[in-house]
């Protein structure tokens, strides 16, 4: 593959987009980082009046809402927003991957699969704030469909209003978000499956391979690029989750379901402490960067191959 020569003529076509990106993406990021160190990004405009330094980072790290060592030690909620986000990824990611691939494969061979797929995709088109309210109702002790199903399957002892208890609030949000995000993974895998060469699978069938072998030895490996994209997008989504939590539990009870984005919002909107909010945003960005870098590297590696 040859590289396009960057002649001045070609460069000029990049300039408008580059300016927009620099002004509306790069500049705000740089300004936010400055603010997190108590440096006013615009001289003369005193957004923060504390002296420049690492004070905000020290404050955040010692804030129990960010990380709660006692909660981590005793394995009881709240454990701190950053830990809650990690738990979110640890549960949400594998579940949505498994549901995504299984449903995508299953719906390929089922009549009316495209209609079922569109129902699954409903979770993606619902505004997340509405999604948060739906989660709250779904886990309600009396009205909730989840508790109804638990009772049907003989697990009635688990039936309660999950969102109001500290030990179940976060899990109810995570399970609800699996439903909301599965539409994306199913769609991605469905698109990936439809682009797979049929001959490979047919040849495997002719050779006597069973469904399990085809799934694990052929389909999943061939869907690796899709999986990488789904993993990266899901982790990013899990790290910036906000609206579901805000609408459903507001991070409670007792901070048991608070997440980084909600903490950032509280500093910004409730306390008006823009510098602290910028600090949380910067920390979130630092966590996100490795994920993005790995993802881009894997895509570029795939293109090389």
């Amino acid at each position: 593959m040859s590289t396009l020569k960057m002649s001045p003529k070609r460069i000029t076509f990049f300039i408008p987009a580059l300016i927009l990106i620099l002004v509306f993406v790069v500049y705000p990021i740089v300004a936010t980082i400055f603010l997190s160190f108590n440096i006013n990004p615009i001289p003369g405009v005193n957004i923060v009046e504390r002296p420049p330094g690492l004070e905000n980072y020290v404050k955040i790290v010692s804030d129990k809402r960010f990380i709660n060592p006692e909660g981590i030690k005793t394995l009881s909620f709240p454990m701190g927003a950053i830990v809650h986000n990690i738990i979110w990824i640890a549960i949400h990611l594998p579940l949505t991957l498994i549901i995504g691939i299984l449903f995508a494969v299953f719906l390929q061979y089922v009549k009316g699969g495209s209609i079922i797929r569109s129902f699954i995709f409903l979770g993606m088109v619902i505004p997340m704030i509405v999604g948060g309210l739906l989660i709250q109702f779904s886990f309600d002790k009396d009205l909730g469909v989840v508790n109804l199903l638990l009772r049907i399957f003989g697990l009635g002892f688990l039936a309660k209003s999950w969102t109001i208890y500290p030990d179940t609030a976060l899990f109810s949000l995570i399970l609800g978000s699996v439903w909301l995000w599965s539409g994306f993974t199913v769609t991605m895998y469905s698109a990936g499956l439809s682009s797979l060469p049929r001959e490979v699978i047919e040849a495997a069938i002719v050779d006597g391979a069973d469904f399990k072998t085809i799934l694990f030895k052929i389909i999943i490996p061939m869907l690796k690029p899709v999986t990488l994209t789904v993993v990266a997008m899901t982790i990013l989504w899990d790290l910036k989750i906000f609206d579901i939590v805000y609408a459903s539990t507001q991070g409670g009870p007792g901070g048991a379901s608070t997440v980084l984005a909600l903490l950032m919002y509280e500093y910004f909107a409730r306390l008006g402490d823009y510098a602290m909010s910028a600090t949380v945003a910067t920390i979130l960005t630092i966590i996100v960067i490795p994920v993005v870098i790995l993802w881009i590297r894997s895509i570029m590696k795939g293109e090389k191959e």
Binding site: Q250, G252, G254, G255, R270
Partner: protein, 435 residues
């Protein structure tokens, strides 16, 4: 195959970055207003005489009023606005709903940007109104009304120096446990006269078929639970305890305070006399339909039930204080119609109260020129009963800030996990505002 970036590409990117930063700086500099505290001068009358109302504008003006009321409460308030529009035909008023907690999040960034979500805004949080006023976002309303014509002390939460940033509207009270008289009659129940009788009442109710729990717990962001808690504090700790907690003179993990929780409130939660927290308007419906017997709620409840004449209430035996508060009216500095907005604010604080207390809003007047006879009949009964009790400020509304949200959140935790009492009280103490 991709090649490493050339030197010219790197230079190009660096130059582009610098250009972008300069452009961004320029946009920020041009659009963000300099940080100056501007004081809006309004006409202030130093005497206490009521200022004559501004004449109705010659041209039609539209004002946006923001309040927290929805449903039946909104219908009641709309009657007030309709009356205003009748008397001021050139002013159209549109009502929009924002909960107090949402307004507290949305309004400050808008104010910083020199905008306001409405022209006349209501908030029950006097501390927040005062804070916004001190930051220079609100008009000074001193001189607009005669403060001597209002309930004593009602302006204190919204006053800063000689400036008044809010005008009081109608007041509410949180008087005790509401019940349906028909339910009590049907089951031979009576209002308790002592703590032991209260416990016996709860036991008896618990044994009634169809009852899920004797007392329903309302939920929202947490204020219904904090209301119940304050009632216990006032009853068993006294009005003094409430006032000292507000001022920070008494800590939440003080043994006296802990005793109120440990001896009275937490045992009731552990015994299952309180339900799980349920969304507070849904709780009204379920309580009214007999799933629960008692509901601790504010006087606005009278306007939210089918038959207010079937309502009765009792405070905890021995309680001498009742939490009362008011909604404050304020006018953002960024309104496009300051004179009309002040006219509306003044009217709402005075004659508007007379209209409001006559509706099914379940409120009392704070303007002393409104008599008991102007109040809606069921509220007259409530008024008589409450006149024997001393008004007390709401604890979390008085402290305000981030601590208020923490207070609500911690009490929600206590309700579902009463064994965490020590942790809750310590958290509230450690995070109490220092000043």
């Amino acid at each position: 195959m991709a090649s490493a970036p050339t030197t010219s590409k790197i230079v190009f990117l660096i130059v582009g970055l610098i250009i972008g930063l300069i452009i961004g700086y320029g946009i920020g500099y041009a659009t963000i207003a300099p940080q100056q505290v501007t004081v809006t001068t309004t006409t202030t009358v130093t005497s206490q005489a009521t200022v004559t109302a501004t004449a109705t504008p010659a041209e039609k003006v539209k004002l946006i009023v923001i309040g927290p009321w929805a449903g039946a409460e909104m219908e009641a308030f709309q009657q007030v606005l309709n009356k205003f529009m009748e008397e001021h035909p050139n002013i159209e008023v549109e009502y929009r709903i924002y909960r107090a907690e949402d307004l507290a999040s949305i309004a400050p960034p808008q104010f910083e940007a020199g905008m306001a979500p409405g022209d006349v805004i209501f908030s029950a949080w006097g501390w927040w109104v005062k804070e916004m006023g001190e930051k220079g976002h609100l008009l000074d309303l001193s001189g607009l009304v005669n403060t001597d014509e209002f309930v004593s002390g009602i302006f204190d939460p919204v006053k800063s120096g000689d400036k008044i940033y809010g005008l009081p509207f109608t007041a509410w009270a949180k008087p005790g446990f509401w019940y349906r008289k028909s339910f009590f009659q049907a089951h031979g129940l009576q209002e308790p006269k002592s703590w032991d009788e209260f416990l016996q009442l709860l036991d008896k109710i618990k044994g009634i078929s169809g009852i899920e729990a004797p007392i329903v717990t309302g939920d929202s962001v947490g204020w219904p639970i904090s209301d119940v808690t304050e009632h216990f504090i006032i009853t068993f700790g006294g009005i003094d305890m409430q006032l000292k907690l507000i001022k920070g003179e008494l800590k939440f993990n003080d043994p006296q305070v802990k005793e109120v929780f440990e001896k009275y409130l937490v045992p009731l939660i552990k015994e299952g006399y309180f339900s799980e927290p349920i969304e507070w308007t849904k709780a009204i419906e379920e309580w009214w339909n007999g799933k629960y017997a008692l509901y601790f709620m504010g006087t606005w409840l009278t306007g939210m039930v089918d038959d207010p004449n079937d309502l009765g209430f009792f405070p905890l035996p021995g309680c001498k204080g009742v939490v009362m508060g008011t909604d404050y009216i304020f006018v953002p500095k960024y309104t496009k119609h300051p004179e009309e907005a002040k006219l509306l604010a003044k009217w709402l604080a005075t004659e508007g109260q007379r209209v409001h207390v006559g509706t099914h809003a379940g409120k009392f007047a704070t303007w002393l020129k409104v008599g008991v006879e102007d109040h809606w009949a069921p509220m007259q009964v409530v008024y008589e009963k409450l006149s024997k009790m001393k008004p007390v400020p709401d604890l979390d509304d008085s402290v305000g800030g981030d601590w208020q949200k923490l207070f609500w959140d911690q009490l929600k935790l206590l309700w579902v996990d009463p064994d965490k009492l020590d942790e809750v009280l310590n958290t509230l103490t450690e995070n109490f505002p220092k000043e």
